[in-house]
Symmetry: C2
Subunit: 463 residues, 2 copies
């Protein structure tokens, strides 16, 4: 495990992703979320600074628990409008050289056959820089947008996710052998039909014949990210994820989640260093503590408690407009397990957390200070076992520019950030796991699907 941390820019093609209200900040370009020029500028900044990835969040529906309607979310731009992240990342492939391109997509959004093909296409176009953040949707509106009556229950969503990933792994890994493509103009043979096969998947939720329409891309399977905090989510991460986005409030909370998921991964035959763990933090950087505090006061002045409450309500499945801010959170009924709430309680077990103090904490995931102070804090996260940080935008691209110009040099001095530029031409997997191959190996359920040369697969080939 290297000492240096990995850094993703964690944002979303929407008005207000996580630090709600900041789109009204005069220095932020959040309102330009649909403008390609703004994204090209951000991508160039990150690519030049050798960030590991641009990591885009997503939703497939609106937040409508708060007040029983999406009105508050629509009013304050809380993750709506929201453009499709995969199309945006493809638009950034040509102008970036090294940056990983990671997007979130729910398994409810699209049939696995079509999804697998779009990912393979982007992996070809970006020369292997794609990552997929696997989510199962937590918004019932998303389910009703996609032809279901309501959201399947939590465990069924994970059962679907298991089958969905099985299908896409088979398409990515098993349908075309490594040596299927001949591309020989002298004989007119493009591919060997004996080495391309149908997957003939017939399961509980999906039926997919195949073959995959894409020839093997540099990574075959994209780098797999996941952010489950429930028990089923942790099990899923342990089986599938190469990058786990943990939702911890303190390094201690992170440490507990990491240890638990690593132990689970070991039980699935994976090595502990097959998984990288990312914490989500934002940063407010100043030349002095006073300057940083001043910038943060301005940021705080733009935060919107109602917008946070709108997202919080659908996240926990409980309409907080019916509760007072002094309601203890232990009394709030949640229909999903919220890792950060658990982490919050564990971070101060003697404190009676209320809705108000929890929302304030949620709005407060900013590390504020001089580069030295921020580096001190990141050293603590690193010591707790965190491999990287998903850097959340307060202002955009301001948060990233300040972090790159202010904090990264200090982190490099301490060996907490890469000191040598990453070479061009690496896939995202090779960048994140130095010395490892571009493709998943056989101790992962996707790699296990690969048609290794020694395996006789001709019996099932399309010919």
């Amino acid at each position: 495990m290297p000492d240096h941390l990995l850094f993703n820019a964690f944002t979303m093609s929407t008005v207000s992703h996580l630090l709600h209200g900041l789109w009204t900040h005069p220095d932020s370009r959040h309102r330009d979320y649909a403008d390609l020029g703004a994204w090209l500028e951000l991508a160039a900044l990150l690519d030049d600074a050798d960030f590991d990835a641009l990591f885009l969040a997503d939703v497939a529906g609106v937040h409508e628990t708060y007040g029983g309607s999406p009105a508050q979310a629509v009013l304050e731009g809380v993750q709506v409008p929201a453009n499709d992240p995969s199309m945006l990342l493809s638009a950034l492939a040509a102008s970036t050289r090294r940056l990983g391109l990671v997007f979130t997509q729910s398994i409810l959004q699209e049939p696995p056959f079509n999804f697998a093909r779009r990912v393979s296409t982007l992996d070809h176009l970006s020369r292997g820089r794609v990552g997929w953040n696997i989510v199962t949707s937590h918004l019932s509106n998303a389910a009703r947008n996609l032809g279901l009556d309501d959201l399947p229950d939590h465990d069924e969503r994970y059962a679907r996710a298991e089958e969905y990933t099985e299908v896409v792994y088979r398409l990515w890994e098993e349908s075309w052998a490594d040596d299927a493509v001949l591309a020989d103009p002298s004989t007119g043979r493009y591919a060997d039909p004996a080495k391309v096969r149908k997957i003939n998947h017939a399961g509980t939720y999906y039926r997919v014949e195949g073959p995959h329409l894409c020839e093997p891309s540099p990574q075959r399977s994209p780098v797999l990210f996941q952010a489950g905090s429930s028990k089923a989510g942790r099990e899923f991460a342990a089986r599938h994820a190469e990058g786990v986005f943990i939702d911890a409030v303190t390094p201690l909370g992170a440490h507990e989640q990491i240890a638990d998921i690593r132990a689970r991964a070991g039980r699935h035959g994976r090595n502990p260093d097959d998984l990288l763990f990312f914490a989500g933090l934002s940063f407010v950087v100043g030349g002095t503590e006073a300057e940083a505090a001043g910038k943060d006061a301005e940021i705080r002045a733009h935060l919107s408690e109602t917008a946070f409450a709108a997202q919080f309500s659908s996240a926990v499945g409980s309409d907080v407009t019916e509760l007072g801010l002094d309601t203890p959170i232990r009394l709030i009924r949640t229909n999903t397990q919220q890792g950060w709430l658990t982490s919050l309680r564990e971070s101060a077990p003697d404190q009676e957390w209320t809705l108000g103090t929890a929302l304030t904490a949620r709005m407060g995931r900013r590390v504020v200070g001089t580069p030295e102070r921020i580096a001190d804090q990141l050293a603590e996260w690193r010591a707790a076992g965190v491999d990287g940080v998903n850097v959340i935008a307060a202002t955009t691209p301001g948060t990233y520019r300040d972090f790159i110009d202010g904090v990264l040099p200090e982190l490099r001095r301490r060996g907490l950030a890469r000191t040598e530029p990453t070479e061009e031409g690496l896939t995202l997997r090779e960048r994140l796991f130095p010395g490892r191959p571009a493709r998943l190996t056989a101790n992962h359920p996707a790699g296990r699907r690969r048609l290794y040369p020694h395996r006789n697969h001709e019996e099932k080939a399309v010919s």
Copy 2:
């Protein structure tokens, strides 16, 4: 109707799109179909030459009628491997300024909610340059890739297409009012919830709640293309298409199709000039007739009859490996109506067309000669009522470069191609229909869905 013709580059992100075998030609980059650099080069060529659009074909499955398996198609790269066209076009948005970006997608591939969102995203990113070629799939493998037992029958596919388009039109046109977005940082109001509404679609094939996740893009609905030649296909084109891709062998055949579809459009309340008709042609250009003939001989030498037969078999639904090349085509059972076969028979009604002569004709849709001779022929197509040409690649980018350098100047001299460069900043719809608005008007089923300001829609708003 202007005298000048419109020009799209008609190709596909695959090894062998239509002129099968040409990927083996030493001057062609067909094999680089997965390489973004090759596409950036082609897109720059087209954008600089003021082509109207890059029009990408697609399939959602393999051709497997020929010999009862996909082996021949896989062997010769006949539309497999095939990358996703929408991802590719998004990757070309940043580097192009004026070029239309038109992609084919079947209504079977993706839930309408997700599709509508991806199109809106690309329309935002490209500033309104997106077109959608609506297809219903003709490959049974496509259906089995996407969770169906088999392809729905032809009329049911069009019934699905009617409902699918209704859903996406409602998302694009009806969900957000023109004045829904406030984007006012002084009040923190991004959008007016009274002007954003769910569509609550519950039909035979689809249930979609909404609201659309994207705010209105420059065109709202993309420019709609279609290529139906059956009766149901022509009816669908007459109702929906703004660009109709006709599959005619001669100007006379084109004339008949155009007159029929325009008459049908009139019966649906549309104006005759609401529809543009495109013929598919390839060109082999020489400084002399002899030079052109020499280039064409080389092209002909790379054509593959078996590859054509593989595509032909699944297009007509009849395995031609069981027939001789001298089988009369009137005896070949076809499960879909093939416009080009009809046109072929009508072009020479006294001739007994055989499988062999039909395949040769199919392989022969190249106009060969000097720029003057090609311009003569295009004048005939124009006189027959054709508005534009989908230029099919023999070699790529060679076909396009030769056409741009050799033929376009002659066409401009004759007023058969634009003589003034198109201004930047136009949407694709404004480019194709000069003087018209960027959005569909109320005589189109999509425009009819618009929330016009005079309509009271607050009763259904999300608030």
